[in-house]
């Protein structure tokens, strides 16, 4: 646990690394601190923003073919998922989508494995976060950078093709 890194969200702009390292970290972490406005969302789900980095795996392409359907898998592979020791919940959030929340997953020991896959919409190049709450009350996080090639006019993926809407043609 010496590599365990405790992150605390501090007021700061998106992209600034708002971290408080309790234990000195050897290498610079690839995981950016969470933006200040995300703290309420995190506190509402995990009870606090005292987060350790690790355990959660966020599997996502680093470059999305289209922001409309990006394969996402989140998991905590080292959790035994027993009554005594399991993952309670996983929460996926984004920094630059029109709304930050993506999904909240709630597990039970009967889930057997803390792993979920879905397809999600990513509006533009940004960081995706995943937070985990364990049955022992510990909180973990990770983040991944995703670039979306539909970038030149990213808002458009959240619009239908404005020049073409069959439902209006009929």
């Amino acid at each position: 646990m010496s590599r365990r890194r405790v992150l605390k969200a501090m007021a700061g702009g998106v992209g600034t690394v708002a971290t408080l390292s309790v234990v000195p970290v050897r290498s610079v972490s690839a995981v950016p601190g969470i933006p200040y406005w995300m703290t309420d969302l995190v506190v509402a789900r995990l009870g606090s923003t005292e987060l350790a980095e690790g355990r959660v795996i966020l599997d996502l392409p680093s470059r999305a073919d289209t922001g409309l359907s990006v394969p996402l898998t989140v998991s905590v592979p080292d959790s035994p998922m027993t009554d005594e020791d399991h993952v309670r919940s996983l929460h996926v959030m984004t920094t630059r989508n029109p709304q930050p929340l993506v999904t909240d997953y709630y597990f039970t020991p009967a889930s057997g494995r803390a792993q979920v896959s879905q397809r999600i919409r990513i509006a533009r190049t940004q960081y995706i976060y995943c937070f985990a709450l364990m049955s022992d009350g510990s909180r973990w996080m990770t983040a991944r950078h995703v670039s979306v090639s539909l970038g030149a006019c990213a808002d458009e993926i959240f619009l239908p093709d404005a020049r073409d809407a069959a439902r209006d043609q009929r």
Binding site: L68, S69, V70, M81, T94, N97, P98, Q99, L101, V102, T103, D104, Y105, Y106, F107, T108, P109, A110, S111, G112, R113, Q115, V116, S117, Q118, R119, I120, R121, I122, F158, L159, P160, A162, R163, D164, A165, R167, D168, Q169
Partner: protein
């Protein structure tokens, strides 16, 4: 399609204690409320905001979905084989409707 289309994948039989994968897909536009029709009218948000898996009456997994979940939401998750019986899936639409489907599971 007026009628909601659902696809599901659950193994027919599993050994007791085994962890198995469940997959579902439901046809739904997941209107995120940011889109406009060609006439400039905003399409109201209407998404499925919750998904539940209930195994022999007990909720074993739940997901809250937000507007970033893609059209035709797909999900894959896991469960432990306990007793033979039924796994029920529930999708909660913003419009108040709840779509349900179920799969039989044989535990050997």
């Amino acid at each position: 399609m007026s009628e909601i289309r659902i696809r599901k994948s659950v193994p027919g039989s599993v050994r007791r204690g085994e962890v198995f994968e469940i997959k579902t897909l439901i046809a739904h536009p997941m209107d995120n409320g940011f889109m406009y029709t060609r006439g400039g009218v905003r399409i109201q948000r209407q998404i499925i905001h919750r998904f539940e898996a209930v195994y022999n009456g007990k909720t074993i997994f739940q997901a809250d979905w937000h507007v970033a979940v893609s059209t035709n939401p797909f999900i894959s998750f896991f469960a432990v084989a306990a007793e033979s019986g039924m796994i029920e899936f529930r999708w909660y639409d913003d419009n108040g409707e709840v779509y349900t489907d179920s799969a039989e599971i044989l535990v050997t």
